[in-house]
Symmetry: C2
Subunit: 235 residues, 2 copies
DNA sequence: ACAAAGTTAATTGTTGACAATTGACAGTTT
DNA sequence: AAACTGTCAATTGTCAACAATTAACTTTGT
């Protein structure tokens, strides 16, 4: 395990990819706020790259729905309306239901261990009462998606989740992070651990049905204006 | 309907978008075969554009999963392995199930009319026994997705369907296009027309369960090697 | 004071040139 | 003969300059 060149592990990524990754991280973590305007020039200076390279990175994020492009005018961080959040939430719930079913159908001991580990991490995070609970929550759901064994599903799930994180980050109140969350998540993973596909899918349906009611309540209070948001059109 | 400038209908799209659209069309229609190698230079000459613009178009298609990019080496049309087709098919079925449910829950008379129209078009196409049946089939399913009222769902559905079309085009035999197809599709739209969400979702589940058995059979015969295919990685 | 038209600064759209990397081929060594 | 090494053509990666478009500002006319 100790070669002479363990460093530089053959990961020579193109600069536009690197820039896109860094930008995406800033976006979903909320360091760059929703609705913020981005200019190629300032980003180019900031990253020490040329406009063309930055441009490629921005286009990448446009295709992921994190940024909208306005011809000859500029780029800005996607702002999600309540309707957008509903669309994304519905979609994400459906994909996770499928993931739960698939995961239950093919889970093995290694998978069960991994799943229990992230669940325990969530229990710990809940005790600490800090921001990390959100991360643990996301990690748990993502683990289930990974266990589905369907990479495309995971890919689209990530796209949708990242868009939602844009919203979560902009609303500093945390949605649905409150009492009973850990117990509820156990109900989610139990049928998966037992390998019961039908029950798993049903559990996700119940879970999101409850979450959606709470979210609707939350959105009604927020009352954001329906600012432009863009699913990349193609024709 | 007769303005002085009906042409140039205010659709001044960027050239890279236009190029991407034309390329995508060539891809999903099979005019450019799966696995084909694409070079920026030849495409630039072909389209009469610069390399940079072509490059942007190619990146767009990479993010849609239609093309894979190999650093410093080239671009090539995605080749789907049987496993990839399974992944995409599973995903598409799930999304369509959701679409069916949503469509049933919110359908109105205009929607019912539109749905019946594409169904009748399918009946006609089935009588003619030509390639257009595939188009009618795709159009019917797409209509249901539209009727769901969820634009993000439609967007992701399109992405996945386009990838599958890549495969359909490469296998000149048409999968699942045979006797009883029209009747089976009526079973699909009936619960939607009646507004029964649960029944609609169940109908899609049955429909794809049957299709999948047939597809598995078909794939077993084809036995393609699992050539590289790439869901855009991000880290 | 108001509205329309003209002007200008800022920004993206597009292009061609140059640098970096890859993969194949030939040459060399063992 | 086989394996390694160096070279070279082809291709993508990156950049900086120029063109096109937008949106805000200023001016002008009423």
């Amino acid at each position: 395990m100790s070669g002479i060149a363990d460093l530089e592990p053959a990961t020579k990524q193109s600069l536009d990819r690197v820039a896109a990754n860094r930008l995406r991280d800033a976006l979903v973590s909320g360091r760059i706020a929703a609705g913020a305007r981005l200019t190629e020039i300032s980003l180019a200076e900031q990253f020490g790259l040329s406009r063309g390279t930055i441009r490629a990175a921005l286009q990448r994020l446009v295709s992921e729905g994190l940024i909208v492009q306005r011809p000859y005018t500029g780029w800005e961080v996607t702002t999600l309306s309540p309707h957008d959040v509903w669309e994304l939430g519905t979609l994400r719930a459906s994909l996770e239901g499928l993931a739960g079913r698939l995961a239950a159908e093919r889970i093995d001991d290694a998978g069960r261990t991994a799943l229990m580990n992230v669940f325990r991490a969530m229990e710990d995070a809940a005790r600490d009462e800090n921001q990390s609970l959100l991360a643990a929550d996301l990690a748990l759901h993502r683990m289930i998606v990974s266990l589905s064994g369907n990479e495309r599903l995971a890919h689209h799930y990530d796209l949708i989740t990242n868009q939602l994180r844009l919203y979560i980050a902009s609303s500093n109140r945390l949605v649905g992070i409150e009492g009973g969350i850990v117990a509820r998540h156990y109900e989610l993973i139990e049928p998966i651990l037992k390998g019961d596909g039908d029950a798993a899918e049903q559990a996700f349906r119940d879970f999101f049905h409850r979450s959606n009611s709470e979210l609707a309540e939350f959105l009604a209070v927020g009352e954001r204006e329906p600012v432009e948001a863009a699913p990349t059109s193609k024709n």
